[in-house]
């Protein structure tokens, strides 16, 4: 194998791939980056076994020659060493050549490195994806739906399936659901291009957070393929794969209340700030709890007390309050997470009693739903 490439473009590609490389992997080959050079271009792949990132650099782009393929081939190079070498090469032209078995020559200007490659046969095999499984949405929408759900996944391994976000297609709508069994976040979107076959997959929360980091803040199309073992997010010249979670996600639809006893319309930002202030007095070593009540006046009262520190009370003006008076207590953190996900707008909170789950929605959209279970007081 032998090819010549522009160093700056190689570095660009590497900067995405190394995001998937972890120093903690136990599989030796995964300390490396796989390079595959063809007549069309260079594909580089890195993985920590949970996620895999591939970038493609075409031979030619907008009439500029980026790569010259002399002889096609594949090999695996130590990621850290390779990345460092490329970073420090003296000129913008890099020649990479595999000679005499596994000896790789990297040449640029007057300097030449020799490093030992590993065989690409040792590298994990990425799943085949079929176009039938493909659907599509803009990157910024994908980013916000991740932000609105992923915080609610479980951080504990006791129920592994809850460490992921369920993506399920129902009647042309994609439901993204996350719950740690104390709260639940649900986002519904309608993809522009639909998959032909229905799917129901659970994507690890960590993978989605990583994906979010490489998604641009614009409306670039992201193609999504959900295969048996893995999901693939395809974005221009970057491929992001994640293993899926094993096991059945619990049916959460029956947990969402549909009848309410108290409904409050309130400004999200005002409420968020009040809860934030109330949680100041909470003790750090325990879930900080705030009390929330209505008494027929057009205000809700937020309070919190901590025997060692003191107590705080605040009235927040509501836009509208309907139904029975209410006294309920909940985790300040869960409430703040939910309010941040809905983001500032006027919103509706529906309660069905002080020991029952309650839900938050934006007043003008059903797309985002946040549900929180309260705490029992004694």
């Amino acid at each position: 194998m032998q090819f010549e490439i522009m160093r700056d473009r190689l570095l660009d590609g590497l900067s995405d791939v190394v995001k998937a490389i972890s120093s903690k992997v136990t599989t030796p080959i995964l300390t490396g980056i796989k390079l595959e050079i063809t007549e069309k271009g260079l594909t580089m792949t890195g993985s920590d076994s949970d996620i895999t990132i591939s970038t493609f650099i075409p031979v030619e782009e907008d009439g500029t020659q980026i790569i010259q393929t002399i002889q096609p081939g594949t090999l695996v190079l130590q990621a850290k060493v390779f990345n460092e070498i490329i970073r420090k090469l003296p000129t913008n032209e890099v020649m990479i050549e595999l000679r005499d078995g596994m000896k790789t020559h990297i040449r640029s200007g007057q300097s030449e490195f020799h490093i030992i490659a590993q065989s690409a046969d040792e590298y994990p095999i990425l799943p085949d994806v079929k176009d039938a499984e493909r659907f599509e949405m803009p990157a910024d929408l994908m980013k916000s739906l991740i932000r609105e759900t992923v915080f609610a996944v479980s951080q504990q391994e006791t129920r592994p399936v809850l460490t992921g976000v369920q993506w399920i297609m129902k009647e042309h709508e994609l439901y993204c659901i996350a719950t740690d069994s104390h709260r639940l976040a649900r986002r519904i979107v309608t993809p522009e291009i639909q998959a032909n076959s229905p799917f129901n997959a659970v994507i690890p929360g960590k993978s989605l957070q990583e994906l979010s980091k490489i998604l641009p803040d614009d409306s670039t199309a992201v193609e999504i393929f959900i295969a048996n073992q893995q999901v693939l997010f395809k974005l221009h010249n970057v491929l992001f794969y994640s293993r899926l979670l094993e096991g059945n996600y619990p049916d959460t639809s029956r947990l969402i209340p549909i009848e309410y006893k108290t409904s409050i319309t309130i400004n999200g930002r005002n409420l968020l700030q009040a809860i934030d202030r109330a949680s100041l007095l909470a003790r750090e070593d325990r879930n900080n709890i705030v009390h929330f009540s209505t008494d027929g006046s057009p205000h809700v009262q937020i309070s919190s007390n901590s025997p060692d520190v003191g107590n705080v009370e605040e009235l927040v003006e509501a836009v509208d309050i309907e139904g029975e008076p209410l006294k309920i207590s909940f985790s300040a953190k869960y409430m703040m997470d939910a309010l941040k996900a809905i983001d500032g707008q006027d919103l509706k909170i529906h309660f069905t009693g002080s020991m029952r789950p309650f839900i938050l929605k934006s007043i003008d959209s059903e797309a985002i739903l946040q549900l929180i279970l309260p705490v029992r007081t004694f």
Partner: protein
């Protein structure tokens, strides 16, 4: 493990290999297995063989092809669906187990079965074992566990009951001694090292190790010191001669094993069973000790060594442990 050790191990475990072949032939592949056998019996080699068999892309007559991409990557430790866990320091910790379970509760990187192998499974600490147990109770997906151990009884009974047990055979010791002597090891050293491990290659390597030869010598001196019954001597010996050569816990364990074998020899000599002793070169000396000791005093001493081995694993201070051991052995009474 070197290739030589590896091949040797597979050859000597023909019955086990046959059984694995049957399992594969009937496609009755369980969720969890325990492979148990003495040190050197070849558990890791057999586990690797079984893993290849389970993941081979082209098994012929229930034997892995050894040439396909899966077999090769299992050999090199690069197969993404296979995870190997070993003790991290003294034991296998809960974090290691949690990490393993997080991996196993994801779908395999590639299609097909996932396999995890736990080496020295007897060294899982209790929270690690309980974490694993929960996972074994509700296995999710197409996954097979292989636990390797040299001490089946040390595995939590609740884990035992969820695993199929496959026992590896130990090699005949007499023939091992003979093959070592052929290689130029002295008969007495061959007798000792074959007590320490059942694997001839490993035994040979041990006989070549200076530190092992040194420890063997020290143990024999310690037996002398104990049997002279002057308490000061033996204690002094522990502090000045013994401890410097027993820095690591594993050294200390080896020392205690050697001491145990010495006292088993003395019992054997007393009972007139001389064929398989560990220290043939000490026959005369041990005969002397066997006359001075009663069976019950020997039992007390052996018990004391066994107790000490156990405490070693509870991380008791090692100097203290040895001092107590020597005092107990000299007084011929167990402190209760």
């Amino acid at each position: 493990m070197s290739q030589k050790l590896h091949d040797h191990a597979l050859q000597s475990q023909k019955q086990v290999i046959d059984r694995l072949t049957m399992i594969h032939k009937r496609q009755r592949i369980g969720h969890a297995y325990i492979f148990d056998g003495s040190n050197g019996a070849g558990k890791e080699a057999v586990a690797q063989y079984f893993t290849k068999l389970l993941l081979c892309m082209d098994p012929k007559e229930n034997v892995p092809c050894e040439t396909c991409n899966s077999c090769k990557r299992i050999e090199s430790g690069n197969h993404p669906n296979v995870v190997l866990i070993r003790p991290d320091g003294q034991d296998i910790k809960k974090d290691q187990m949690s990490e393993l379970i997080m991996k196993m509760t994801k779908k395999g990187y590639e299609e097909g079965r996932k396999v995890y192998v736990i080496v020295n499974a007897e060294r899982m600490n209790s929270s690690a074992a309980n974490t694993l147990l929960k996972f074994l109770e509700e296995p999710e997906g197409n996954v097979t566990a292989i636990l390797l151990t040299n001490s089946y009884p040390s595995i939590l009974p609740t884990i035992q009951s969820r695993c199929q047990r496959i026992s590896l055979q130990s090699m005949n010791r007499q023939s091992s001694i003979e093959s070592l002597v052929e290689k130029g090891v002295t008969a007495s050293m061959a007798s000792t090292v074959t007590m320490m491990t059942a694997n001839v290659e490993a035994a040979y390597e041990m006989a070549q190790e200076d530190s092992f030869v040194q420890r063997r010598r020290l143990v024999l001196k310690l037996v002398e010191a104990i049997e002279q019954r002057t308490p000061g001597e033996a204690l002094l010996f522990i502090q000045t001669d013994w401890m410097p050569f027993m820095k690591e816990k594993s050294d200390c364990e080896q020392g205690l094993d050697l001491l145990l074998f010495a006292y088993r020899d003395i019992v054997a000599v007393k009972a007139g069973l001389q064929s398989t002793i560990s220290y043939p070169d000490q026959l005369e000396v041990f005969t002397g000790h066997s006359v001075k000791n009663t069976y019950s005093s020997l039992t007390v001493k052996i018990d004391a060594v066994l107790q000490a081995k156990k405490r070693l694993h509870q991380n008791m201070n090692r100097t203290l442990l040895l001092e107590q051991l020597v005092l107990t052995m000299q007084e011929g009474l167990l402190f209760v």
